[in-house]
């Protein structure tokens, strides 16, 4: 099980660092040709509407996920994470 922990930790740290370094770097890396966005910026009025957010009420959603997390076996994958127990 220690190998699992090390594997996940090392993978996560490696990928996170790679993404951070790549995003912050000023040098050019080989890339695919630019892909033309098929939804132009001026066509994104609806996408920008607050009701199109997966998390438009962060406080409410966090509370709701805590209620479920403390009563269910599953956790993770786009569902809120956080510390604490409060699980009785």
């Amino acid at each position: 099980m220690f190998s699992n922990i090390k594997k996940i930790l090392s993978t996560s740290i490696f990928l996170t660092l790679i993404l951070t370094m790549a995003a912050c770097s000023s040098f050019s890396l080989p890339s695919l040709p630019d892909i033309e966005p098929w939804v132009a910026p001026y066509e994104r009025e609806y996408l920008a509407d607050p009701i199109m957010s997966f998390n438009k009420d962060p406080l409410s959603n966090k509370y709701r996920q805590h209620v479920f997390n403390t009563r269910e076996g599953a956790k993770g994958a786009g569902y809120a994470h956080g510390g604490g127990c409060g699980c009785n």
Partner: protein, 363 residues
Amino acid sequence: MILLVFVHQNALAEVLPEERADIGYHYYDGGGVEVDGATMLVRKNFSGKYSIYGGYHHDSISGASPDVLAGASEYTEERDEYTLGGTYLYDNTLMDLSYTYSDEDDYESNMVSFDVSHEAFGAMTKVNIGASVGSDDVERSDLPSFAEDLDRYSFRAGISQVITKTFVMALDYEATVEEGFLNNPYRFVFVNGVSQGSGSEEYPDTRTGQAYSIKGIKYWQHRASTSLGYRFYRDTWDITSSTVDLNYSQYIGNQWVVDVYGRYYTQDEADFFSDNFSSRLRYMARDKELSSFDSFAIGGRVRYDLFKDYKYFRTVSLNLAVEYLDFDYDDYSGIESVADVGELGSGYTFDATTIQFYLSAWF
């Protein structure tokens, strides 16, 4: 390499999360437990590149769930949770670092999270990756000498993709590893109808879980949206689960937003769960969260905008959310004492209601 390719595509500008403050009250009543308290979350941006946020959440807990009642007297407990975080915007990349501390009489938790997200392909695609490391101290309020540790790690990655001008989809993955004392120290097991006493559960010291989710959100021309999500989870304790989430949002006039949402959840039991063991085993659990059960929830939220564009505020709104939850266990009986052992193995059910009332301000 794929990530690097994503990162270096031309993209429209990423922006910081919106500045807002939420402050409110929450209430939970169900399964013999009442929880209520204050809650707040505030985010403030600086110079378009930096953002800091802080959160506070308080739980006043009273009563006890049935699997605890026989092992500990009915109790009251307080829990305080504090979150502090910062977000940095560099070009089209957001980097977020946060710390969460939670403290209650018999449990202390620390967690640090780091997340990076990047917009690419003309802001059509957003990739995100992150990790959390947590360390918890587990104690017993009735046994001062009891002290155990729990370490928690998680790694997550996801992608969000604009499909059409009214439809967005997202895929997410998260792996979690927990190492240490994973039982609840108060809970107990039955062996041949005889309670083994408080703290008699025995769990493995490690648990590794993996969760996969897919979700989509669609805008409708009558100023509404619908989101639908599905999550699959499995772990090394042989728990598998499925979750379905549905939400409908609708503007009404210029001042109201109404949400209606539903959720269905189902899971299989851990391979060392039993409501009544026939003999003592190396690992034994009677925690209802590890049993086989189904639950559903249905709720709604109403937002009313009090005013807009007044002094420092873009919008100030009042929000009320109410949700009903129902849990239906297959082979967890929920019995509290030996007087009821004849009911071992029967299905326990309970329902609960949550209420949230809060004020939101965008500035």
